[in-house]
């Protein structure tokens, strides 16, 4: 049994072998792009809007509200990366009910790539918010002795992010494969429905955790600024 779609080679283009992960990632991306293009073709501001516009507006507004509630900051800066992660993971989970489709998030390489994106985004937003030196200083925060532990924490939470998503999606497909050989008629459908639920929760959790990490890299500065402002006001 395969526990990852990496091992399945779908087709060869010259010397490059395309495995199932890459092909299904491209299919997922194509579906997302096509849906977004189709939905935003005829945008209106009138009272009667099309179904697709309604769907996309609900999605974007919902993501914005969640980001605002969790990070206590304006969501527009974080929406592109966090929203894209959420959409990609959830669309690949939802499409896994199509027979023959293997979710690309069931491969450790995809989830590691997504987690590295989050890792880079944390550093990027932190540096953009606090400056290069100011951001690097927060690794020395309680005392300089904590530097190795801070770096270790940064790396281990990235690995945890990747393995968590991989384990959840992979466990769903492995359980369904095992059940198909034991009780093939009815039970796998129930497990597939359960897999849809846990997969969507995992997509939500991945997005939430990435926004939590990004917010924790950008928040400290604002709190300091606010206390300084308060202190200044108190003096006046």
């Amino acid at each position: 049994m395969n526990i990852s779609p990496d091992d399945t080679i779908v087709l060869h283009i010259g010397p490059i072998a395309l495995n199932a992960t890459i092909v299904y990632t491209w299919i997922t991306m194509a579906v997302i792009v096509a849906m977004s293009w189709f939905g935003t073709r005829k945008l209106t501001t009138e009272c009667k809007i099309s179904r697709w516009q309604n769907l996309l507006e609900t999605l974007v507004l919902g993501m914005k509200n969640q980001i605002r509630a969790i990070s206590n900051q304006e969501p527009d800066r974080f929406l592109p990366i966090v929203g894209t992660l959420f959409l990609f993971i959830s669309v690949s989970v939802i499409m896994s009910i199509i027979p023959g489709y293997q979710p690309p998030t069931g491969s450790l390489s995809t989830t590691a790539a997504l987690a590295i994106c989050v890792f880079v985004a944390v550093q990027f937003y932190g540096i953009a918010k606090r400056g290069f030196i100011g951001y690097l200083k927060h690794y020395l925060k309680p005392t300089p002795f904590m530097l190795p532990f801070n770096i270790l924490g940064e790396v281990s939470r990235t690995i945890a992010l990747a393995v968590r998503l991989f384990g959840n999606v992979m466990s769903g497909s492995v359980i369904i494969a095992i059940l198909l050989s034991i009780a093939p008629l009815f039970f796998p459908i129930l497990m597939q429905a359960l897999g849809l639920l846990t997969g969507l929760i995992q997509a939500y959790i991945f997005a939430i955790l990435s926004i939590v990490y990004i917010a924790s890299a950008t928040r400290v500065y604002e709190e300091k600024e606010q206390t300084l402002e308060k202190y200044g006001k108190g003096k006046e």
Partner: protein, 93 residues
């Protein structure tokens, strides 16, 4: 017993032990988290949204240790590097 049988036996026993021991802690932890969240929702129904969101996130964090054990068990059963090594050795001879 030869090497192949030994590695197969140890892999299966260890995979069972991994998932058995590794699911005890997260199960207790998730139960505690859910019980606390339920009682706080009962105390403050207005805050149900925030509590539920935090509950989901913390459940995922707690659950991840069980997921790590599951991944290790799956690797030991289906993608065991030692098993593959022994098999290729045996095939090469």
């Amino acid at each position: 017993m030869d090497n192949v049988g030994l590695i197969g036996m140890v892999s299966i026993i260890v995979a069972g032990f991994t998932i058995a021991v590794g699911s005890i802690g997260p199960a207790l932890g998730e139960a505690r988290a859910a019980a606390q969240a339920l009682s706080s929702i009962a105390q403050q129904p207005d805050e149900a949204n925030t509590i539920t969101r935090t509950l989901f996130v913390s459940m995922a964090m707690i659950e991840s240790t069980a997921i790590y054990c599951f991944v290790v068990a799956m690797i030991v059963i289906f993608a065991n590097p030692f098993w593959n090594y022994v098999i290729t050795k045996a095939g090469g001879q």
